[in-house]
Symmetry: C2
Subunit: 467 residues, 2 copies
């Protein structure tokens, strides 16, 4: 009986709004695909600016560019929110080789992990011990590790359909590998790139030393998947081969930077805030097109598509371009801190930070009752092949806003190719398809439209229709 | 009452087979993603052989290569099915320019359409008349068209979510443009490439002169989307500009070729045939990786995955690699003709010919009752993000098998990028992602497994469980 009752409620709901909402959604998608600006914005961010590591000149240029573009949209407010960010610099290109005998060596592709210390100026050469997990370090102990380079070589699990799960199952090696190996006296760490494809690109990403004192910190780098296989097979033949690497990256003083924010002020409930965002910073090897130029321009496009489709939101809609997601999350933390200090009531936040590929749906961090409301909207998304509505994580930058009432959501694009490019020099504009990017922006806009129209209160709330 | 009854039936059905089927499907997907051969087969077809136009040496090499690979699988039978195919050759590279004044010209990118006649040896130069449809020719009439080059410039409609619909709405210009324009005395035809992206690649494809006598046939070529825009805007400034193009393509005599077929003979119902296939021929500009190398290797992989996953089919499962889909469909017609002559009972046919991108589901050409049976399997596909189950077309090569009983199906991958590459020189191996290709092969295998296990009879048939 309860099921039937719920279905009837949904049906009444749908028949009440479906026709109108269908038309609005058709208009949003059509505008995105025929009059979109997101691809041109991304071209500029990627090709005219490039990689935007926190604290870099390019990050500053990206702040200025996106602020200017938001200014042109005629929003109600556009501003910069100051935030101090870490500044890590890569220095000159890294260099590495496998030495099979004195004078005999094979060059391999590596890159320093973000936050790593440098090697000694002349580089570091040592024997290598290959491990497949942090736990394995304990088994081996100081005796077998001391002085050596620890090589973490556990691959991403290929049979997981969601590639982010495979990433989640591996990234501890990158993040904590050096911190843990240093405790057993390792001299350095090499980590297999978080990449499901066999190729020659090393993939950087953040790592941490925890509370290790400076003099205990050891250099850490990623090696390409092809070269990880090579190193592993050569170790299988001769465990006495040596690995050499040199990097002169450095952590400098924090610098001033900004979150970039634009707002359409709500017509009826201006003090209820709904935000869409991505992160403006990127790693430095590529131009950060998928991570997260795509999310930045899609989020900007949400506000533009609302305007273009004649939607006047009841609530205040903000686009927030967060600074420093990659190596600090300072922008996300700052935004939440200010929102709390000003007592701003944030009811919904949506992040796009999973690449600019064909959108499949969303994951939601909210109550079951709120999630049921979303499920009622699923049929509206079907014509656009948007089918994935699950409870789960949302996005790193909006995480600090979490409280009991807010609905957090993350756009979920097709993930199969994402880690081919993630944090590597091939995360470039040519790997983004215009239509896929635009479909993502339209899908985000449609969700914002529905939440603004029907509110974020769960469907069981009988006042819903007045929201 | 009826709805509840059907749901209960489905429920009983699912609880009856779900656990076992879940495990089998998990094994299929895992094997595809961790022990797949399809990507390596495609690498060979694409990089070691290349474009495989019907009647070419490369097409012959592709026949030999795929036969050898099927032989290695230890199937019950592998054979070549002879079929005569047309042989059209492109000749030397095409050349074209827009002439704004005598001696002043801008080169543009074109390619002859498949089946077109050559221009005169010295090329063809004439004024241009731009039209947006075949119908517009009638309005203009012989007076305005005679002697001119007709430029068909209707773009693919960007706001259609299914790009194949946008293709269907445009391709009449390519297929029938020359045939129709010739009736009004046009001297040649230039067609905007069937491509949703703005770029410099011309896209070839089949065209027909219908029953026009040889001396009435006029040359026809595709122009890249960027150059179509250029030509159109220059015509807007000065309608007297001229267009020059030269091509020396030629239709030669039909030659002998083959469909390549492999079979696992059914353990219980060997005289019921289920086939999976793609087409072995391709256009000549790229290496035919997406169209349809992907479908070829995925179809081969279906039989390999059945073996690898320990599935012994009750019915006979065939892989059929069709020759000459692109410019004649001779392979598809021949296969159906032989099947009919031998009175072979084909109950199911699945084609993959929509690119090697992330699979989203299938479309089915079958009765409503048969389709309802498929819908009952949807939950089994959900973990693999396969959500698209619709009635609709299947595939060109399997179309000739259509009769009242057979279920025809087509794999439906994500279509957003497909026409970026279709029939153009950038349909190459690097545009195919290994995981996406493998997921397609696994998805096809899962469907074949379910149809073999539960039969193709509609769900209302109470004998279903005995099938």
């Amino acid at each position: 009986m309860k099921i039937i009752f719920t279905l009837s409620l949904l049906w009444i709901g749908l028949s009440g709004y479906a026709q109108d909402d269908k038309e609005v959604m058709a208009s949003i998608y059509k505008n995105a695909l025929t009059q979109g600006e997101s691809y041109e914005w991304l071209r500029h961010l990627s090709n005219e600016i490039g990689g935007r590591l926190s604290g870099s000149l390019n990050a500053e240029r990206a702040v200025n560019y996106t602020k200017e573009e938001l200014d042109k949209l005629g929003l109600d407010k556009v501003w910069l929110q100051p935030v101090m960010v870490p500044r890590w610099v890569r220095g000159t290109p890294e260099f590495a080789f496998i030495e099979t005998a004195p004078g005999k060596s094979i060059n391999v592709n590596i890159c320093a992990l973000g936050g790593s210390v440098a090697t000694p100026a002349g580089g570091l050469k040592a024997n290598v011990i290959e491990v497949s997990s942090l736990e394995e370090l304990k088994t081996l102990g100081t005796e077998k590790i001391k002085g050596k380079i620890v090589f973490f070589n556990r691959p991403m699990q290929a049979d997981l359909i969601h590639t982010f799960e495979a990433y989640g199952g591996c990234v501890d090696q990158r993040y904590a590998g050096a911190m843990e190996a240093a405790k057993y006296g390792a001299s350095g760490v090499i980590v297999r790139s978080m990449n499901l494809r066999m190729d020659d690109f090393p993939h950087t990403g953040s790592m941490s030393y925890g509370d290790l004192p400076n003099n205990k910190r050891i250099p850490s780098a990623a090696i390409s998947t092809n070269d990880a296989e090579k190193l592993s097979s050569m170790l299988g033949i001769d465990s006495n081969i040596k690995f050499y690497f040199r990097q002169n990256c450095k952590q400098l003083k924090d610098v001033q930077s900004y979150n970039v924010i634009g707002e359409i002020t709500g017509s009826e409930k201006p003090n209820e805030y709904m935000i869409v965002g991505g992160h403006l910073d990127s790693w430095d090897l590529g131009d950060g097109s998928h991570d997260d130029g795509a999310g930045v321009v899609q989020s900007m496009e949400v506000l533009r598509l609302l305007q273009l489709s004649g939607i006047k939101p009841k609530r205040s809609i903000r686009v927030v371009l967060f600074m420093n997601e990659e190596n600090g999350l300072r922008g996300g933390n700052k935004y939440a801190e200010v929102a709390k200090a000003k007592n701003e009531n944030h009811v919904f936040a949506l992040e796009s930070d999973s690449g600019g590929f064909t959108p499949r749906g969303f994951s939601f961090d909210c109550s079951d009752a709120q999630f049921n409301k979303v499920l009622g909207w699923q049929p509206l998304f079907k014509p656009y092949l948007i089918h994935y509505f699950e409870k789960g994580g949302s996005g790193a930058d909006i995480g600090p806003l979490k409280d009991d009432g807010i609905i957090l959501a993350g756009l979920r694009p097709d993930s199969q190719r994402y880690f081919d490019h993630h944090h590597a020099s091939n995360d470039t504009f040519d790997a983004v398809n215009k239509r896929e990017l635009e479909l993502g922006a339209a899908t985000m806009t449609a969700l914002v439209y529905l939440f603004d129209k029907y509110g974020t209160a769960p469907i069981s709330n009988v006042n819903e229709l007045k929201n």
